[in-house]
């Protein structure tokens, strides 16, 4: 009788310990990432400036069209475009993850062999490291955001609820994209020419996510299609949560859909990883 009573707390303790050490692991890896990336400020800025060219170009083009047509396109004014694309830069910074093409590098250079010897699933290492990196990136992003705001005068008046939802949504976007890029990355275990598929995926994402233009500018059927695919929930939704005027219900619903896609992505990754790792025969180390 006494053994039965004692067993439960021990199991519980063990479970708690497991979670605590996982948390410890995340905190430590994130700190390492911050310390490491802070050294490479110049190269981080190069990357960010290159990335920022994309929304600035779109912003300029759509502002020009808006101004040539009495101030708005499809009801979106120049300063609303400014808000959209400036928030875009933060969302993009958040949803850059360990990309599918880098899996090829990881396998080719023999990095993976060593990484497989570690006790936890590789996904944890990537998630933790990139999550830590985000703090550096967002820090470096602030001056850019201020500069862009001074130049383009965004129309941005979020409510407290919208800000809270946005903060959750950018991490949701981070997780969804991590999962799907991971799934796609598994392709590298079968072929060394994954690049074509990655390009196709990126182009689809570009069009259906709100990355290229706000989805409102797309034809109706594209908008409907976008609702049922993961892409929109990594770009359009977080941006709209802050700049659009979404109802509290649709904000919450959006977060719910994000959770759903994280789940789907995680299950897909698990399956793909299990299948992929069976095909792996070590290269170097």
């Amino acid at each position: 009788m006494s053994t039965e009573a004692a067993e439960l707390p021990v199991a519980q303790l063990r479970e708690e310990g497991r979670w605590r050490s996982l948390l410890d692991f995340y905190v430590t890896t994130m700190r390492t990432a911050v310390a490491e990336q802070l050294q490479y400020r110049v190269t981080n800025y190069f990357y960010m400036l290159g990335m920022i060219a994309e929304p600035v170009i779109q912003l300029v083009v759509w502002t020009t069209i808006a101004n040539e047509h009495g101030g708005s396109v499809n009801g979106i004014t120049a300063s609303e475009f400014a808000a959209y694309y400036i928030v875009w830069t933060l969302v993009r910074n958040m949803n850059i993850v360990f990309g599918a093409p880098f899996w090829e590098w990881r396998i080719r250079e023999g990095q993976l062999s060593g990484q497989l010897l570690r006790p936890m699933n590789i996904l944890h290492y990537d998630l933790a490291y990139f999550a830590g990196w985000k703090f550096v990136v967002v820090g470096l992003w602030v001056p850019i955001a201020i500069g862009l705001s001074l130049v383009f005068h965004p129309d941005l008046h979020p409510t407290a609820l919208e800000i809270v939802v946005f903060i959750f949504a950018i991490w949701g976007a981070y997780l969804i994209r991590s999962m799907f890029q991971g799934v796609l990355g598994m392709l590298n275990f079968w072929t060394t020419r994954g690049a074509a598929v990655f390009d196709l995926y990126m182009a689809t994402e570009m069009l259906l996510s709100g990355r290229l233009v706000p989805l409102q500018l797309m034809p109706g059927w594209v908008q409907t299609l976008a609702n049922f695919l993961p892409f929109k929930w990594t770009f359009g939704f977080p941006i709209e949560a802050l700049v659009g005027h979404m109802s509290p219900t649709s904000l919450m619903l959006g977060l719910g859909v994000q959770v759903l896609w994280i789940g789907i992505g995680y299950v897909l990754f698990k399956f793909a990883w299990t299948a992929a790792i069976k095909r792996f025969s070590a290269v170097g180390g």
Partner: protein, 261 residues
């Protein structure tokens, strides 16, 4: 003269190397089609909301897109692979292998690597350009075509100079693989007529990062919008920039102590 011979020889070896990987042609073709497709969709989107952007009609912008993709293909084939290799060499200390050779070091670092399959983009771009031009309905004269080729050549020199200046700073900064992203990002500004950009940005992409000159001038030439003054300015600019690049490369070399190989 010797420099040209060395350059050609390296080019030949580079081509032979690349020809081994034939499947890459189809891969490149596929990727190039995706790139062109995305560009076309973007154009269609813009012109579903307007009839002229900053005075440019859809076929005119299609031609501009063609020129941008064409020049991009030339950059990816000839310039970028060499600059990437140079950055890598500085980081890993293997640049000494090039520096200790008796030929001119700037020539050597500029001709060591070519990605011949990337030239598929040149043909995609050319196709878009031709489709665009046939829809403009103004005939392209021989003079226009020649000026276009000339301006495109100037554009390549400008981009090469810019790339080499940036890459040379690797002697001080060392880790700079992200410059690639920076350039690719900024190169996209060339898809739109330079006139749409606000003054500060227009100035930057014309003189600081010469994308404006490199893409817009040839596009203006082929659509008969070019003023001869612009062409003269771009030639002078190219000569000055080339001199500056040469000087900066030597200046950088003097500051480079090598990282041992």
């Amino acid at each position: 003269m010797n420099a040209v011979r060395v350059g050609l020889l390296y080019f030949k070896v580079g081509v032979l190397n690349e020809l081994q990987y034939r499947v890459n042609f189809f891969l490149q073709l596929f990727q190039s089609l995706i790139q062109a497709g995305t560009g076309l969709i973007m154009l269609a989107l813009v012109y579903s909301h307007t009839t002229a952007l900053n005075g440019w009609t859809e076929p005119e912008l299609l031609s501009l897109l063609g020129v941008q993709i064409m020049l991009g293909g030339l950059i990816h084939t000839f310039i970028q692979p060499n600059m990437e290799k140079l950055m890598q060499d500085v980081q890993q200390g293997t640049l000494d292998y090039a520096l200790t050779k008796p030929a001119d070091s700037q020539v050597l670092v500029s001709v060591r690597q070519f990605q011949i399959w990337q030239s598929v983009e040149v043909f995609t771009g050319l196709t878009l350009l031709i489709v665009g031009l046939t829809r403009i309905e103004s005939s392209v004269g021989v003079v226009d075509a020649l000026t276009f080729a000339f301006a495109l050549g100037i554009g390549i020199i400008l981009v090469y100079c810019f790339w080499l200046i940036v890459t040379t700073s690797a002697f001080w900064i060392v880790r700079m693989e992200n410059v690639l992203e920076l350039f690719e990002g900024i190169y996209q500004t060339g898809r739109w007529p330079i006139g749409v950009y606000p003054v500060w940005l227009r100035f930057s992409v014309t003189f600081l990062i010469p994308v404006g000159f490199a893409v817009t001038v040839p596009a203006q030439a082929i659509t008969s919008r070019l003023h001869w003054g612009t062409l003269v300015v771009s030639v002078v600019f190219a000569v000055v920039l080339f001199g500056l690049t040469r000087w900066f490369w030597r200046f950088g070399l003097r500051h480079y102590s090598g990282a041992s190989a």
